[in-house]
């Protein structure tokens, strides 16, 4: 691992990775972090991993997290926080595996919740689906209504203009260019069809 002299320590850079990925660092600090990343394969790997985790989280399907689950997570976080306060000094990079494990657990939890909510939607979701069904039905009815009106208009126009007999009209036009006697015969024939 090489390091640029003014780009900060690995610990400092890795602490700022989240803010860096969120674009929340100052321009100067962003430059420092980038300089460090350019020369530190270890931190660069950490940055890629963090970005991958962020992307995975963003790509997850939309899930309504049940209140009980949120409560359980908050409780667990509070417990861990309390344990953390009691613990002695931790090694320099203790959080790396812990962070990855936590993120993985988070992913698993969200994916699990997603699958659970799809297989057994709770009662509140049933209402939402019913409401959405009514909306979909309404929208499709409107499309159907528009199509129907348009069809009616086209039909009325066709009847008015006589364009529902295009074959006869086409033949008549052709016939006018035929010799006089056959034209008359054919025109009568066509008009009486």
């Amino acid at each position: 691992m090489s390091r640029s002299p003014d780009s900060g320590s690995c610990g400092g850079v890795q602490s700022d990775l989240e803010l860096y990925l969120d674009g929340a660092l100052s321009t100067a600090r962003t430059h420092q972090v980038e300089t460090h990343l350019a020369g530190c394969s270890d931190c660069l790997a950490q940055m890629h991993l963090a970005r991958e985790i962020q992307d995975e989280l963003r790509g997850l399907p939309e899930v309504d997290t049940p209140a009980a689950t949120i409560h359980a997570i908050l409780e667990q976080t509070a417990r861990r926080e309390a344990t953390s306060r009691r613990s002695t000094h931790a090694p320099d990079h203790w959080w790396r595996p812990a962070w990855i494990a936590l993120a993985a657990a988070g992913l698993a939890l969200v994916v699990g919740l997603s699958m659970w909510s799809r297989s057994a939607p709770p009662a509140a979701d049933a209402d939402t689906v019913a409401e959405a069904t009514a909306e979909a039905r309404f929208a499709l009815e409107q499309v159907g209504l528009a199509t129907h009106k348009a069809a009616m208009a086209v039909e009325n126009e066709a009847l008015r203009d006589g364009i529902i007999t295009p074959t006869q009209r086409g033949l008549s036009r052709v016939i006018t260019h035929e010799p006089e006697e056959s034209s008359t015969t054919l025109r009568e024939g066509v008009d009486h069809v």
Binding site: A132, Q142, V143, T147, E155
Partner: protein, 188 residues
């Protein structure tokens, strides 16, 4: 980074996961048309907004599978349904119609095909479809009906045969269209 911060990040990630997937609508889908950006309907007159993304349409398809198989079949193939409706009382019909003209130009510039454009006294129907690889992948409908205007964009595979069925299969009280077939059997 402290342990607290890692825990907080995880909690946030889990809590925010639903809102992170805000891209509910595939705006790059060829059948997508941004009816929200048309600025045809006066903002204060908009009284209806329907936004149904693919995930919800899948739920609807499953929920209506037995009782409304036609609705189920149509929604199963759709990626989104979006509707904007407005009460035109007091609004300028000419302005709305002019907006429709502009939208029609935009649609045609983007490769949409005009299926029907019908205009009567206080009614107007414009139906455009988008075709890709021989399939209809989007439908945009712009209508004025008396004092109501509506913009609709259906995204996804649409069977043209369904269009006729939409009105007839969904219990709408509509005047009957005379065709050679039903002329022969007027009571059918």
């Amino acid at each position: 980074m402290s342990r607290t911060r890692a825990g907080f990040a995880l909690t946030l990630a889990v809590l925010l996961a639903p809102s992170l997937s805000l891209a509910q609508f595939d705006t790059d889908h060829p059948g997508y048309f941004p009816i929200e950006e048309l600025a045809i309907l006066p903002e204060e007159s908009i009284n209806l907004e329907i936004n149904l993304p693919a995930a919800m349409l899948r739920f609807i398809a499953v929920a209506t599978d037995e009782e409304e198989p036609e609705l189920s079949r149509i929604t199963r193939n759709l990626e989104s349904i979006r509707v904007r409706g407005a009460d035109l009382t007091g609004a300028s019909l000419d302005s709305i119609r002019s907006g429709f003209e502009g939208a029609a130009r935009q649609l045609q510039e983007k490769g949409w095909t005009s299926m029907v454009r019908m205009r009567e006294d206080n009614e107007e129907v414009n139906i455009f479809f988008k075709e890709e690889a021989g399939e209809m992948v989007g439908l945009t409908v712009l209508t004025i009906d008396g004092q109501e205007a509506m913009l609709i964009n259906l995204v996804g595979k649409i069977d043209p045969a369904d269009l006729a069925g939409l009105a007839e299969g969904l219990d709408l009280d509509l005047p009957r269209i005379e065709t050679p077939d039903n002329d022969a059997e007027p009571n059918s």
